[in-house]
Subunit: 176 residues, 2 copies
């Protein structure tokens, strides 16, 4: 639980002032109207996320369960892991997640984007994806890709993703 | 040039009998009709490929040049790099290439598939992709994906790849 430790490493643990390098407070106009004045939202790129907490987030958006052993391996070997946290007083909660694989040079592919249902529709998914994109761009990755379920093609479209540009097709291998 | 060294590490260098772990001879019925009896074809997963030789292969299929510094980084950080070599007597030549990024657990994405033009249409692209797929499957990667240019959708279709399964769309990010 590297996150809890770093978020509460300041002397005043009731009012966390995160100073770990991978932690950034997120704020946007009108956010307190949408989330309440008690909530503060943070991004993290720390990949030592509690796997049960991540599983709970994935459950909440209806994804099939995956072996935690493989989830751990996938986090370790992702190029970038971003998470979003709600902090209220001394409690923090994982409310969003996304990760990307990459060759560290040309291509990155985004996987497992999720925002906890009660936090959806408030601009947080967009904020999380924008954060991930800006991090990837800062690493000079030119080609950011993903495979979108039909119901989220519009969501990604709003972020600047194009479906099938120049007729390029996303393809998946199935054992014959 | 790890490849040359390993391919010619046997005592009889005129008739290489590759014994390095990452080297496998490829043969198929009718191959000598298509390639001539002088040619032997090998697969390799050795990623220490001469970058100029790789650039020449990419040039031969008309791809835009990329900075070698980034190509080197991409090879290092790909999960799997497969190459195909023609050996005639003591000369060897890079004739095919493909690589994949991955989280080492769930997903792999295939990039940069190329067969040298004079070797195309002889079943070698299919052989190289089948080799890559079997390697990925052996590592228990369940989801093998790629982004196909329109003119190669059929080629990948023949290998068991489906375009847009269940409406899933490949998407690319473009700076606004
Ligand atoms: C998809 C998901 C990450 C979006 O997160 P979110 O926080 O609800 O999205 P936001 O509030 O940031 O929405 C940003 C914009 O996208 C739009 N949008 C969000 N979800 C959308 C959807 N499913 N369809 C169409 N538009 C959508 C919003 O209307 C908003 O538009 P605006 O900028 O014009 O106001 C979230 O709904 C989710 O986790 N869904 C379940 C998991 C999932 O399907 N993940 C994708 C797997 S490929
Ligand atoms: C695409 C490429 C890798 C195919 O390699 P290849 O060695 O020529 O292909 P093969 O001879 O193994 O062909 C296997 C099968 O695919 C078919 N096929 C090959 N290329 C095809 C194409 N462009 N369109 C449709 N079918 C094709 C063959 O007819 C063959 O069919 P069969 O199994 O029914 O006989 C090669 O043509 C190439 O390097 N092209 C240039 C680079 C490129 O476009 N790469 C893909 C970037 S996304």
């Amino acid at each position: 639980m590297g996150f809890l430790k770093s978020i509460f490493s300041s002397s005043d643990s009731a009012s966390p002032s995160p100073n770990a390098i991978s932690l950034e407070e997120y704020s946007a106009p009108g956010m307190s109207d949408r989330l309440g004045t008690q909530s503060r939202i943070y991004f993290s790129t720390d990949r030592s996320i509690d796997l049960y907490e991540l599983e709970e987030l994935c459950d909440s958006v209806g994804w099939a369960r995956r072996p935690l052993r493989k989830v751990r391996k996938a986090l370790q070997h992702s190029y970038m892991v971003v998470s979003m946290w709600e902090v209220r007083g001394s409690r923090k909660r994982l409310i969003g997640f996304a990760r990307a694989t990459s060759d560290c040079a040309f291509n990155a592919t985004v996987w497992d984007v999720a925002i906890r249902p009660e936090f959806q529709g408030k601009g947080l998914g967009k904020a999380l994806m924008s954060y991930l994109i800006s991090k990837l761009r800062r690493e000079d990755i030119s080609n950011i890709t993903l495979f979108a379920d039909p119901h989220v093609v519009k969501f990604y479209g709003g972020l600047g993703f194009l479906a099938d540009p120049e007729g390029i097709k996303g393809m998946f291998w199935y054992p014959n």
